[in-house]
Subunit: 595 residues, 2 copies
Amino acid sequence: MTRREDDVFASSDSVRSACPLKHVRRVELDDALVLDLGGELTGVTVAFETYGELNADRSNAVLICHALSGDSHVAAHDAADEAGWWDVVVGPGKAIDTDKYFVICPNVLGGCRGTTGPSSLDPQSGRPYGRDFPAVTVADMVEVEWRLVRHLGIEKLLAVVGGSMGGHRVLHWATKHAGRVRGAVPIATSPRLTSQALAFDVVGRNAILRDPSFRGGQYYDQRTKPEIGLAMARMLGHITYLSREAMREKFEADRHQPKAVPTEFEKRFSVGSYLAYQGEKFVERFDANSYLTLSMAMDLFDLGDGPAALAATMSESRCRWLVLSFTSDWLFPPDQSRALVGALVASNKPVTYCNVASSCGHDAFLLEQDLATYGELLRAFLANINASATAKSAPGPDSEGRLDYELIVDLSEPAHSILDLGCGNGELLDLLLRRGHERLMGVEIDEQKIIACVRRGLDVIQGDLNLGLPSFADGQFDFVVLSLTLQAVRDVKRVIDDVVRVGRRGIVTFPNFGYHKLRRMLAEDGRAPEASGVLHYKWYDTPNIRFLTIADFEAFCKEQHIKVHRRLTIDSEAGSEVYDDPNLNADLAIFVISR
Amino acid sequence: MTRREDDVFASSDSVRSACPLKHVRRVELDDALVLDLGGELTGVTVAFETYGELNADRSNAVLICHALSGDSHVAAHDAADEAGWWDVVVGPGKAIDTDKYFVICPNVLGGCRGTTGPSSLDPQSGRPYGRDFPAVTVADMVEVEWRLVRHLGIEKLLAVVGGSMGGHRVLHWATKHAGRVRGAVPIATSPRLTSQALAFDVVGRNAILRDPSFRGGQYYDQRTKPEIGLAMARMLGHITYLSREAMREKFEADRHQPKAVPTEFEKRFSVGSYLAYQGEKFVERFDANSYLTLSMAMDLFDLGDGPAALAATMSESRCRWLVLSFTSDWLFPPDQSRALVGALVASNKPVTYCNVASSCGHDAFLLEQDLATYGELLRAFLANINASATAKSAPGPDSEGRLDYELIVDLSEPAHSILDLGCGNGELLDLLLRRGHERLMGVEIDEQKIIACVRRGLDVIQGDLNLGLPSFADGQFDFVVLSLTLQAVRDVKRVIDDVVRVGRRGIVTFPNFGYHKLRRMLAEDGRAPEASGVLHYKWYDTPNIRFLTIADFEAFCKEQHIKVHRRLTIDSEAGSEVYDDPNLNADLAIFVISR
């Protein structure tokens, strides 16, 4: 059974029968688990599934952390097996390639799909814990996962990957078990929930807690269970997992034609029958007490408020990061992922970030629609950390023939750190990487170019230069490069400010509008200048919106109290440096500047 | 008691005691009400309040339509009176000035604040209707309002104003009672709910319907009422009334410090105590059956899917429109107001639209924070329709000295319709208005400039020209003007396409970069050209991003198969037309073009 994307009822929730899954293994932890918020649990059992083979040096293990309602069955084990909740990503040849990696997916502590949780028998009373199950946190969950990983003979994971509440565990793994993780991939997650997301959780929990069948949590031996409350919480969850656009696509055309769902919930509208279906299905496989336990753990997860606190936490990590968010996710909005990225940048950690353009909302990371972006980033990132454990890339050529690149290579030593603003496909950074630079980073706005960079082994974060680089510290890089980008920038002052603030030296290259051929086009032909290269556009469709000459830039630097350390002016057609009246005779300028 | 904006518990809901309000008046309708969805109601009573005095010719009545949980008490009647739900807007000297206008605010049919609803006695059974209360629609609500208005001796309302579900009634009034309304102000509303908003309503209703105390709706004589379900529905509502930003401001700083609210709902978090408070307070004054009745009426409201259906409905109106939305409103998102505006534009109706920049979410229209914008628009709009009923503006001077304006005035007759793209403060349109043009419209992006236009009596819709003008029909205006705007436009092709599509003639004016002084600056000084007027900026901070000469524009027109009917080239320093080599000698060009 594969979920079809166009199925109106497709969702993050892999609806499956309640029959036990045959590939699930179980391990009982030896020692008692001392809990984060006090108390302890004994006889904790972990249910998990694995895929692929652990290699000889035990270096290819990828841990997958499921979200609130997920379980260990991340993918089908074979054609006869039931669908998993992340079949689109995990399997032979897929982004998390089980031919290469040993994949481990445990059910979470506090859950109800095999790992100890409120519905488990309390060894002390011989009855299910119910509400006597202690409050657990993300830290406790990760502790259980770590004990499982160690039990499997693994000391260091190649990567920990997870979305939503699974992303919270990734963040905890990478910061509190820092030496045990080589790569961290938090997806559609946050340092802590927004107040809005928290509010939805509160309403969901109230629906369960105030369902008369809840009976203070001891309903396991009762005829009725708090199924109405749990279904209501689930309905609410499903609204928040979808974007408004996705809901429109699913339900607008037939808004007054509900599906025939057997339910006592309202089904006057198409979207109502969907919610009723999701609610009714969920109660078949999920326990209300687990829902309370897990949603509270998620709500209590808190890496700190404000950039400083967050940077202090993230600075504990010692791994490489791939952070992914989705543009239409309003439950874990992209700004929260950007806060994580900012904290990593501020503490000088290697991080790649992409805010994947998507209409699917929070659910996007579980669906096929945007796989070409997020799946490819995941695949390339895993390949990079896998490769860095084994081989060092071969030294490359000194340049690719671009004069500005040659200069940058000339100016810098392999020990220098370099930030390339508007790094494109990463040609310059690739050159520097192969020359042995260890601290390189790019900022780029285009999703496809970011993928190209990650495929080259580079770290790049998605960003709009016009919005500034607030996360970057003063003097964080030896060089900040702005190469043939200035002429397309809206907020010139802010961008140049950032160049000379974040870089001890800035290297700025731009086309010179004072070049004689361009001058002549205006002066003699009376036409807007055009040329080859970045100036090959028409006046009405050019991405270039700033027209400056070398003299203009020099006046700007003077006015802004920016020092010019070096100026290289080039006639790129002739391929030579220009010494005579460069504002007239050079078509390309390269400035090395600082504050 | 006035609500303070900084009060963490401030909201759209004016929390008040259950004691009867002394200013409420009641009228019983003479005839039975035949309902939209079948059935009828007899003995319908309407509760309402009025403010100010009806003038002699009964032309100053403003009807205010409250939202789902509101009532007739729109404002305090005097200093000793309880606060109303819209005190910020309604009162002496306020935007809806009760010194000038006679304000009527009825409680809605199906409600529980004085007008007949499910909690009223069913004359047939002698018991409250409960779930036997028939399904009512927005049409039924408006029918009751119309009978009240007529009862008060008013045949035509100056304006109907309302937000959210109140906005739905405004839309119905203006289209189905078209001859009875001179001005319509739908605020934060929509042609129909989004599927997302619908989904929240479904969950809210399920919370009530499946509360065991609901008992099929006949709970009035029972010891317990469906208060848990109603409170849950209300909590959910409150989440959707606030924006994510507003929630962050209210609850992030003290997220772990809940207020001490007496409640059995969860209050682990600050936001939880807020929701519990709102839920607990609501059940004191609202009836669960009314909630079901009103929310279903809102969900069934549907002006049609798609621009054509919507335009067919909106074309029935014969009033002037002011449509308001708020940028952070995600329950009734601005796109839905734009759809209404588009339908009005497509059917050639006089409409002003502003998407007010706000962080307050759907609640914004009830709060003081953005009053300087939406209140001023409302005030000016009411003044315009009030004035148009009495006086005709005096003819004005022929121009304000701008040569391009003079030409436009010369080219056009008062019978001509004119659309001004990027109309700014409305100088040109004002000139034309005072000259007697009856069909004038502006498009402008800046909120303050829109206010200035409305104060001048103009109709202007907020829009970004780069996104196109899809609602405007081909040839809808005699002239479309693009005055000194082309050089600041990103998507030149689309904008010019629209000019010659929507206008039978387009008038485009722009600064000529081929002007000799500008050429010389680049050619001789080697500097980016600057000049007075629209070119007074530096290369790095100019809003002008397109640099074109007269020759460039002519080549563009040729390439795009656009006819040039007239070209006027001006030396604006000399104040004279240029005949000799205008590409060199004119600094301003005016083109009259068509497809």
